[in-house]
């Protein structure tokens, strides 16, 4: 039972991160390899807001999430906007460079020590017994948040005006622009939303298990989850996360703990060989030979 709970928590983490990759890729065909770093930045922002609003932990978290949304929009406006229309690869490399830059900045501002935002907020991470296993409070919060975020994103993309515009921009930017959809606004929105979901993930992970630069690796490991499910499909990201999390937890449990960092990438390669467009991805739009 404990195994199932571990898988569920890890899958929730990966799913929450993976939807950030999916959002940006689906709308602008750019792979944001700085997602892990942006996520880490949000968690560090929480540290700062926690010391500003030390009385109200909830306000601190809300402020950190809002700041992250702004960071995402600003990243698009000042950096990625210049790369729209360039080669896709140049855009991807720009996100890689952004990631390197953020990694340096975070250490310069907040130092490289392991931090503990839960402590800064004055919270204790209780462990709750469920169905004969135990789950940490932050872990439970992660699963609930992931469920809410995915439900929200489905509703947003299906019914809201901006969600429909986002899907249109993703399907055919040229036609969308001709119908009067402001592509820059939509792309900026996608970046903002993606950083917001990343921020939720980063904050909850840091509340659960502390905060240092290893969070980047978690962000990178969530990427296979997005790709296995299909880079432009939210359902796919959910299922991909389950697959990757299950593979990773079972591998650690039954084979070797050292494998944990490699398993997602092994699954990724397997998927690329068998079905490069992922389980639920659209096939014809894929840049295949």
């Amino acid at each position: 039972m404990q195994l199932a709970i571990n898988i569920a928590v890890l899958a929730a983490i990966y799913a929450l991160i993976a939807c950030g990759y999916v959002l940006i890729y689906r709308v602008s065909r750019v792979l944001n390899l700085a997602h892990g770093e942006l996520m880490m930045l949000s968690a560090y922002l929480l540290l700062t807001t926690a010391s500003l609003f030390s009385k109200n932990p909830l306000i601190a978290i809300a402020a950190a999430i809002f700041l992250s949304l702004c960071v995402g929009v600003l990243v698009y406006l000042f950096l990625m906007r210049r790369m729209t229309g360039e080669m896709v690869l140049a855009a991807v490399l720009t996100t890689v460079a952004l990631g390197v830059l953020l990694r340096g900045l975070v250490v310069l501002v907040w130092s490289a020590q392991q931090q503990n935002p839960a402590q800064a907020l004055g919270w204790v991470n209780y462990s709750i017994p469920v169905f004969g296993g135990r789950i940490s409070a932050a872990g439970a919060a992660l699963i609930i948040t992931t469920a809410l975020v995915y439900a929200g994103l489905f509703l947003f993309l299906r019914f809201s005006r901006y969600g429909i515009r986002m899907r249109a921009a993703g399907q055919n930017p040229l036609l969308a622009a001709q119908r009067g959809i402001s592509l820059h606004a939509i792309y900026a929105l996608a970046w903002g939303l993606s950083t917001l979901t990343g921020a939720l993930a980063g904050i909850l992970i840091s509340l659960d298990s502390g905060l240092d630069s290893t969070m980047v690796l978690i962000g990178l490991k969530a990427f296979p989850a997005a790709l296995v499910g299909g880079l432009d499909s939210l359902v796919g990201a959910l299922i991909g996360s389950l697959i990757i999390a299950a593979a990773e937890v079972l591998m650690i449990y039954y084979v070797d703990a050292l494998l944990s960092d490699v398993v997602p990438f092994l699954v990724l390669i397997l998927m690329l060989v068998v079905r490069p467009w992922g389980l639920f991805g659209t096939r014809e739009e894929l840049d295949r030979v």
Partner: protein, 360 residues
């Protein structure tokens, strides 16, 4: 390769042989000789620290030339370059540690292992392109590094593998000066191999594949074979660089081959300028020297002492900024700047090149 217009003045090719020459004019010969003389005298006037920098540049140049062949010319993107360097370094390390193999065995062995791994890295390229290929090489990087780490822990070398200084015949390569010439020779050989590959049938096939795969196929180029060939050649050169790196440092450990190293190599070819061997070398020089320039610059900040522990962070930040600046403002890289300066003088007093139709 050597057919770039315009020549400064007065030189016209009058036979096809001349088009094949790497060095065409007497001026170029003189420049080359002067350059070689400068390279030859450098170790006798440089300090030990400067020699170390030069050696690092040579090592980086071999790797970046190899990546340039693959990405800049054949158009196959790789984010797993550090994995290949790791493979070469571990081949040398393991052969030395387990079998006590000599320098002249481990280096070719590294080349062979590199070629094999290159074949594996290249297999996804038969089905995937662009982004997806980059991702698959990224994944392979993690797997190679994991295997290296696994070997270290299982054999009890958890801190790393020590390697003795190599020996060729009676010559022990330990002194920096000797290392300088050895690495210079390796870098020069890989440059020559690349130059000759690129002006041969293979190089033209790669260029065709980069421009348009379907058309290349229609022209009768074996696309899968040439893609794999690009991966194999590039990887085996990189692995040799990795083995040399292991010997030069005297030490192999997985920590040295992080994803950041791959990013650095990609940065070298971007900052240098895609599709140019000169660019690969300029990029290698720039990226290798950047951390030292940062360290120097940080020394001028007020209360520099307090920043001493944060140099790594400064490096990361500055590296990210430089890479972004080049990607956004100078996609042609250092070579683009160099060509612009060259053209400015060649065309003076005019500003623009004559349009295509009016060229001689």
């Amino acid at each position: 390769m050597s057919s770039r217009e315009p020549r400064a003045s007065g030189y016209f090719r009058s036979s096809y042989d001349q088009g094949l020459r790497l060095i065409e004019t007497r001026m170029q010969w003189t420049a080359l000789m002067l350059f070689l003389a400068a390279l030859g005298t450098f170790p006798f006037i440089a300090t030990s620290f400067q020699l170390d920098l030069a050696c690092q540049v040579f090592l980086a140049a071999i790797g970046s030339i190899a990546l340039m062949l693959l990405t800049g010319y054949a158009g196959q993107v790789s984010l797993g370059h550090a994995g290949l360097i790791a493979a070469g370094a571990f081949t040398a390390g393991i052969l030395f540690k387990e079998f006590g193999a000599a320098f002249w065995i481990t280096i070719p062995a590294a080349a062979v292992v590199g070629a094999l791994i290159g074949l594996i890295f290249g297999l996804p390229s038969l089905r995937l392109r662009g982004l997806y290929l980059a991702v698959s090489t990224l994944a392979l990087h993690f797997i190679v590094v994991y295997l290296g780490g696994e070997y270290e822990t299982k054999r009890g070398f958890s801190t790393g593998i020590m390697i003795d200084a190599p020996r060729i015949g009676d010559l022990l390569i330990r002194d920096r000066k000797i290392w300088y010439f050895v690495l210079l020779a390796f870098a020069a050989v890989s440059l020559l191999i690349s130059l000759n590959l690129l002006r041969s049938r293979t190089g033209r096939a790669w260029a065709a594949i980069r421009s348009h795969e379907t058309i290349a196929e229609a022209l009768g180029i074996g696309v899968p074979a040439h893609k794999l060939l690009a991966f194999v050649i590039s990887s085996s050169m990189t692995a040799v660089a990795g083995a040399l790196f292991a010997y030069y440092r005297g030490f192999v450990s997985v920590e040295a081959f992080s994803l950041f190293l791959s990013i650095q190599y990609v940065a070298m070819i971007i900052i240098g300028g895609m599709g140019s061997l000169l660019g690969a070398i300029l990029g290698a020089i720039f990226v290798t020297l950047l951390p030292y320039m940062i360290e120097y610059a940080v020394g001028f900040l007020p209360n520099a002492r307090s920043y001493a522990g944060m140099l790594a962070a400064f490096n990361y930040a500055a590296f990210g900024i430089v890479m972004i600046l080049f990607l956004v403002f100078e996609p042609q890289g250092l070579v683009g700047i160099w060509r612009r300066v060259q053209n400015y003088f060649l065309l003076w007093p005019f500003k623009q090149k004559p349009l295509g139709g009016s060229r001689k």
